[in-house]
């Protein structure tokens, strides 16, 4: 076992030395640092100059989550380029075969490259550390939030790295595998969102709805009932497709914190509330009595708010399933790469030379 890890370590350090001596990597980190600096400064100015908000907690909470989302976004955007040519790029450079004739096994090769791609992506997290510390301190972010958000972020970057390395083993042309990695990441982030919206609209069912002409706040009664039939989208049936979305996973996994009105105090909670709301049946308010309650509430001056706390408490968490789905994808990609890179090779891609 230790011999196996030794081999993985040699490949890992070889990959890191190859990557870290490239200029592109440092340029990207610099650009990333600049963007985060800009976001942090602008958000801080907006919030601290605003007299309506007295407590720094109001900015710190959202700011920390904003930085985390940005690291995830940029990591997801950059990691495919960093990992999507790990194996076929070596083949093009003529260094894959010379590695494969040594005593390195295919698994050591694939895992070493995967770890290197992962650690490279984590470089973005390292660069964002000053901003995370600043926003966490200013906003008094809870240790639980910090711990869980970081863990999930690290995991998500690993999933992208694994998909990239896996596809670079499965696909012969580096450019093509990088593009396919981007498509895979796009499918997870945008694709699940589009599928969710289209799915909900496609599944819409006709429902009888009730409405009132006037409401009387004093007596708490409604008059002028009329009913109408309207198709409603059934997001409660297809919310599951959002589960493997990296942004949903991170929002769903971090325990939500609320202000005194029951609203989410950071972006994790806001997104979580939005995503969890989809689970609620559209038929909740389609009795005359429920419709009256709703109308009274909408009309009231004392808006009681969306009550994120209540929605989140009564709906099902999806992050564990999401992570499981992602892990299956990542492992499948790495397995595929292993099968295609195994030597002695049974088949070669058309027009490719092994050496």
């Amino acid at each position: 076992m230790s011999q196996f890890l030794d081999g993985v370590g040699v490949i890992f350090s070889l990959e890191m030395r190859q990557r870290l001596r490239g200029v592109a990597w440092y340029v990207l980190l610099g650009v990333f640092f600049g963007i985060l600096l800009l976001i942090t400064v602008v958000t801080s100015i907006v919030v601290f100059s605003s007299s309506a908000i007295d407590a720094p907690q109001h900015v710190g909470g959202p700011l920390y989550s904003l930085v985390i989302y940005f690291v995830l976004l940029l990591g997801v955007l950059v990691a495919p380029a960093m990992s999507g040519n790990a194996i076929n790029g070596d083949r093009d450079a003529g260094t894959l075969a010379t590695t494969q004739v040594t005593l390195i096994t295919t698994w050591q090769l694939v895992l070493g490259k995967f770890l290197a791609a992962w650690v490279t992506a984590l470089g973005f997290l390292a660069v964002s550390a000053p901003f995370l510390v600043y926003s966490a301190v200013v906003g008094g972010t809870s240790p639980t939030t910090i711990l869980i958000s970081l863990l999930v972020l690290i995991l998500e970057l690993g999933v992208v790295a694994a998909i990239g390395v896996g596809l670079s083993g499965l696909i012969t042309r580096p450019l093509f595998s990088v593009v396919v990695t981007y498509l895979a990441v796009a499918a997870l982030t945008l694709g699940t969102l589009i599928a969710f919206v289209l799915g909900g609209l496609a599944l819409q069912t006709k429902t009888v709805m009730y409405d009132y002409d006037t409401v009387n706040q004093k007596s708490g009664t409604c008059t002028g009932l009329h009913q109408f039939t309207e198709p409603v989208p059934r997001f409660d049936l297809d919310w599951g497709v959002l589960a493997p979305n990296p942004f949903v996973v991170i929002s769903d996994a971090v325990p939500a914190t609320y202000d005194k009105y029951g609203s989410a105090s950071d972006l994790f909670g806001t997104f979580k509330w939005a995503e969890r709301s989809a689970q609620q049946s559209p038929f909740r308010a389609n009795t005359p009595a429920a419709a009256c309650r709703q109308a009274l509430q909408n009309d009231s001056d004392t808006y009681t708010g969306p009550d994120a706390a209540r929605v989140i408490a009564t709906t099902t968490p999806s992050w564990a399933v999401g992570i499981a789905i992602q892990r299956v994808l990542a492992v499948a990609a790495l397995l595929g790469a292993w099968a295609r890179t195994r030597t002695p090779a049974r088949r070669l891609a058309k027009g490719s030379r092994i050496a």
Partner: protein, 316 residues
């Protein structure tokens, strides 16, 4: 070592039927035209490619069944010049050593020895991307030797090397063979293989040439080049010996004469000396390997003095 090996890529039958044995302690040349399956054969020997049929034994191990055993004793210098761009020459070698499960100290020591051996000491701390083609070739050779392999596969080792480096390579290869290693070399520069190789395997269209055909080509007519201090005397003597003027080609003060095999050539030289011609150079127009190679590839054509690069080997 190799028995009726076959491998195809889709419709392309790169290797159809190759059978040969490369003995230990000798240099075996692998000769064949472009696209004859030499590199494919090397890849199968190096345990990178699985044969469709046939069997291989490298130092007693089967590269398909136990690739690790083969890799431990085999050094492969590929025809492609790949190197880790941003690593220094020295660290490229130590990393290769580490890939062969050597510990850090052993790998570093071995790298130093090999840098010395191939003459890359001055460039040891340069990144490999600045190396010239020939220097990369040297690095590739050093890399293939890092774990002191028993069997060495050299695919076009001399391409890109300057004449001095070629000579060094020859000496090194001969020395390794003398140490008892099995060496298989493929090259297009047949003259060079002539001086390096003990035996040769001829491959054409994925098939090894049979021993009979090789023997046949040894006795087939080939041109010998003769240079004499007095060209006119040589001319007269040749006519007297009975070699008709039509078959002789005179070019740059040298006369090429067709003879059949070594014995015939020796007899001709004896006659010329007896006739009092002052012969200063008497050698085959092309090297042994080249002659066989050309003969096998063009069985119907007569070897011609203008084909191939002329080689001046032999006694002078």
């Amino acid at each position: 070592m190799v028995d009726s090996l076959a491998r195809s890529f889709g419709d392309v039958h790169a290797v159809r039927d190759i059978t040969f044995t490369a003995p230990a302690g000798a240099v075996t040349a692998l000769i064949g035209p472009n696209g004859s399956g030499k590199t494919t054969l090397m890849l199968m020997l190096a345990s990178l490619l699985r044969p469709d049929a046939g069997s291989i034994r490298v130092a007693g191990s089967d590269p398909v069944a136990s690739p690790a055993a083969v890799r431990a004793v085999l050094g492969w210098m590929p025809d492609a010049l790949g190197s880790w761009d941003s690593l220094t020459v020295r660290s490229a070698l130590t990393t290769t050593g580490r890939l062969y499960r050597m510990n850090r100290a052993d790998a570093a020591e071995r790298a130093s020895v090999l840098l010395d051996l191939v003459g890359l000491n001055d460039l040891a701390s340069q990144p490999t991307r600045v190396l010239s083609r020939g220097q990369k070739q040297k690095l590739s050779l050093a890399r293939s030797l890092i774990h002191d392999p028993q069997v060495l596969l050299l695919d076009e080792p001399a391409s890109g090397l300057d004449p001095l480096a070629r000579a060094d390579l020859q000496v090194l290869v001969r020395r390794l063979a003398a140490e008892g290693k099995t060496i298989l070399v493929s090259s297009h520069v047949l003259a060079e293989l002539d001086e390096m190789a003990d035996t040769a395997v001829y491959v054409d269209a994925g098939v090894t040439a049979s021993a009979e055909r090789i023997a046949e080509s040894k006795t087939s007519q080939r041109l010998w080049r003769i240079r004499a201090t007095d060209a006119a005397a040589l001319d007269r003597a040749l006519t007297k010996i009975g070699i008709s003027i039509e078959t002789r080609v005179t070019d740059r003060g040298e006369t090429s004469v067709p003879v059949s095999g070594e014995a015939d050539a020796a007899a001709l030289l004896a006659k010329l000396v007896k006739a009092g011609v002052a012969v200063s150079s008497f050698a085959p127009a092309v090297g042994d390997l080249e002659h066989t190679f050309l003969d096998l590839n063009r069985p119907t054509e007569r070897p011609d003095a203008s084909t191939g690069t002329s080689t001046k080997g032999g006694v002078r």
